[in-house]
C-alpha cells in the first residue's frame, strides 16, 4: 500500500464533488478589490464568506501603518521571539491587548490556530482534565491532542451536561479546564456563558473562551461574548485571532493569572515558530484601536446581519438559532448544497460550503459571514440570488405555496426547527432574537 492510499475515500469524494461543478475548496480570485468585492474569472462578485466582520482589510490607516512598518523594520522577523528577540511593536501590541481586555498579561501568537494549540497543550498537562464543547473548532481539538491532559467532551452548549461531567470527576486529582467559544463558527450560535461560568465557579475549574468570531463583534466595547455576558471576572483565558475582525493574521491569549508570562518559555507553539512581521503587527495594532474608537462599525455589522438573517428567515430558510454575522442556511443534502453553492457563484455571490462531518448535526450548510463593509444593495443582491436559487432547487417554496404549507403544517412564520447535536430538534424563534 502506498503511503497516501489511506486517503482514497477522501480522494474519491473530492473528485466526485469537483465533477459536479467548481472546486469549492480551491476558488482562486483574480483579484480581491475591497473587503466585500473580488474579481473571479473577469467578473465582479460579492464576498459573503470571508469572516471580514469589520471590513478592515483595506482600511486606509491600517494600510498606512503597515507600509510604514515594513519600510522601517523590514519584511520579516526571520525567526522566533526566543531566538531572534522581540521587536518593540510586538511588546506594544501585547500591552494594548491586555489594556483592551483589562487584563494583566497578553501573549501574541503567529496564528489563531497556534494560539489554541499553544495555550491548550501547555496550561493543562498530565493529570489535568480539559472539558471541551463537542462542537469545538479543530484548533481546540488539536491543541488538546498535543498536550498530556485527559480530554472529555460535553454536549454542545449544555451547562447541565458539563456539570454532570465535573461531578463524575469527583475528587480525582488534577486541575479542570473548561473550553467554550464565543460564537461557534458554523451556525453563529453563542455559548450560554453566564450558566457555564456558574458551573465553573461551583466546581473550582478554570475557564477558557475562544473569541475568534466574537472579538469586535459582541459586547459593549467589542471584547466579545465574555463582555456581553458580563463574566470577565470568571474567565481565566481569552483566546482570539487577528485574522477575522482585525483583518490580518495572528492570534493571542490574554489572562489575569500572575504567572502567565512563564508560558513564554514553556509553550512550544509560541517558542518554535517565527513571530509575526512588523507590518502585520502594525495593522493589527491600528485595527484594535478602530474596534475601540469606532463602535459604528459594530452597529453597521449588526444591521447588516439582521438584514440578511431576517430576509432569509422570512422566505422560510432554516437558519441558526440567533442573529449573528455568521448566517448559515441548512440544506437537505450535500447534493443540493453543492448545486446551490455553484449557482450562487454563477450569480456573483461567494460564500462558504460546509459539508458533513465538519458541520453540527451532520447538516450541509451554506455559510455566509456578513461584514460592516457590505452595503444594503449588496445584502439585498445576495438575498435575491439566494431566494431565487432556493425556490428553483425546491429548498424553499414559492410564496403562494408556502402560505398554504405553513397553514397545513401549523408552522408559524418566523419559527424554524433546528436540531443540535445531542439535543434533538428544538423549536427556536428566529425573529426578534
Amino acid at each position: 500500500m502506498a503511503i497516501l492510499d489511506k486517503f482514497k475515500p477522501q480522494q474519491a469524494a473530492y473528485t466526485a464533488m469537483k465533477t459536479t461543478g467548481r472546486d469549492p475548496f480551491s476558488v482562486c480570485f483574480d483579484e480581491v478589490v475591497t473587503p466585500s468585492e473580488a474579481v473571479l474569472k473577469g467578473r465582479r462578485i460579492i464576498l459573503l464568506g470571508t469572516n471580514n466582520y469589520l471590513g478592515l482589510t483595506f482600511d486606509r490607516e491600517c494600510i498606512q501603518d503597515a507600509v510604514a512598518a515594513v519600510r522601517q523594520a523590514g519584511t520579516g522577523t526571520t525567526g522566533s521571539r526566543i531566538a531572534n528577540g522581540t521587536y518593540g511593536d510586538h511588546a506594544q501590541l501585547e500591552r494594548r491587548l491586555a489594556a483592551f481586555y483589562g487584563c494583566r498579561s497578553a501573549m501574541v501568537f503567529s496564528t489563531g490556530y497556534q494560539a489554541n494549540l499553544g495555550i491548550l497543550s501547555t496550561v493543562a498537562g498530565r493529570g489535568d482534565t480539559i472539558l471541551i464543547d463537542a462542537d469545538s473548532h479543530a484548533s481546540i481539538y488539536d491543541g488538546c491532542r498535543l498536550g498530556g491532559a485527559e480530554v472529555i467532551r460535553f454536549r454542545h452548549n449544555d451547562p447541565d451536561d458539563l456539570h454532570r461531567r465535573l461531578r463524575r470527576l469527583g475528587d480525582a486529582p488534577g486541575n479542570r479546564l473548561i473550553v467554550v467559544e464565543g460564537i461557534y463558527s458554523m451556525l453563529g450560535d453563542t455559548a450560554p456563558l453566564t450558566e457555564i461560568a456558574a458551573v465553573k465557579r461551583e466546581w473550582g475549574a478554570s475557564l477558557l473562551v475562544d473569541e475568534a468570531h466574537s472579538l469586535g463583534v459582541l459586547g459593549e466595547t467589542g471584547r466579545g461574548l465574555t463582555e456581553e455576558a458580563g463574566v470577565m471576572d470568571d474567565v481565566d483565558f481569552i483566546v482570539g485571532t487577528f485574522s477575522k475582525s482585525l483583518g490580518a493574521v495572528g492570534g493571542f491569549c490574554v489572562s489575569n493569572l500572575p504567572d502567565f508570562d512563564v508560558l513564554r518559555v514553556v509553550c512550544r507553539p509560541y517558542m518554535f515558530t517565527a513571530s509575526l512581521p512588523s507590518a502585520v503587527i502594525a495593522s493589527v495594532t491600528r485595527a484594535l484601536a478602530h474596534v475601540h474608537e469606532r463602535p459604528e462599525l459594530r452597529e453597521r455589522l449588526s444591521r447588516n446581519a439582521h438584514r440578511l438573517y431576517r430576509g432569509l428567515a422570512a422566505e422560510g430558510f432554516v437558519l441558526g438559532p440567533r442573529v449573528s454575522p455568521i448566517v448559515s442556511i441548512r440544506l437537505p443534502s450535500s447534493e443540493v448544497a453543492i448545486a446551490f453553492w455553484n449557482a450562487l457563484l454563477d450569480a456573483g455571490i461567494y460564500l462558504n460550503l460546509a459539508l458533513p462531518p465538519a458541520t453540527p448535526d451532520n447538516a450541509p450548510l451554506l455559510r455566509s459571514s456578513v461584514s460592516a463593509a457590505h452595503s444594503d444593495d449588496q445584502i439585498d443582491a445576495a438575498l435575491e440570488a439566494m431566494v431565487g436559487i432556493g425556490r428553483s432547487l425546491g429548498v424553499i417554496a414559492a410564496p403562494a405555496r408556502r402560505a398554504r404549507d405553513d397553514q397545513r403544517a401549523g408552522v408559524r412564520l418566523g419559527e424554524a426547527t433546528w436540531g443540535q447535536p445531542g439535543h434533538g430538534p428544538a423549536r427556536v424563534a428566529v425573529t426578534g432574537s
Binding site: T129, E150, V151, I152, R153, R168, P356, P357, N362, P421
Partner: protein, 85 residues
C-alpha cells in the same frame, strides 16, 4: 446459573441501545461488532451513542480512551473500567 459479569451486562445494554437507534443496523450487533465499521453509523451518530452510554452508566469517556475502542466488547471493558469495576 452463573450471574452475568459487569462487562457482559454492559455489552447487553450497548446492544439493546444500538437496536433502539433511529436507523438500527440490519444485523443484530454482537460483542465482536466493530463500532465504526460495521454499524453504518457516521461519526456524529457514534458520538451521540457514546454520550447516551455515558449518561446510562454515569461515566465520562476521555477521548484517548475512546480512540482505543474498536469493538462493542472494547467499549464495555472501558466503561466497566471507568466505573471502577
Amino acid at each position: 446459573m452463573r450471574t452475568m459479569s459487569q462487562k457482559d451486562e454492559i455489552v447487553a445494554v450497548i446492544i439493546e441501545m444500538i437496536g433502539a437507534l433511529p436507523q438500527p443496523p440490519a444485523q443484530r450487533a454482537t460483542p465482536e461488532t466493530n463500532i465504526a465499521r460495521d454499524l453504518g453509523l457516521d461519526s456524529l451518530a457514534v458520538m451521540n451513542l457514546v454520550m447516551q452510554l455515558e449518561d446510562r452508566f454515569d461515566v465520562s469517556m476521555p477521548m484517548d480512551r475512546l480512540a482505543e475502542v474498536q469493538t462493542i466488547d472494547d467499549l464495555a471493558v472501558t466503561i466497566a473500567d471507568l466505573q471502577g469495576g
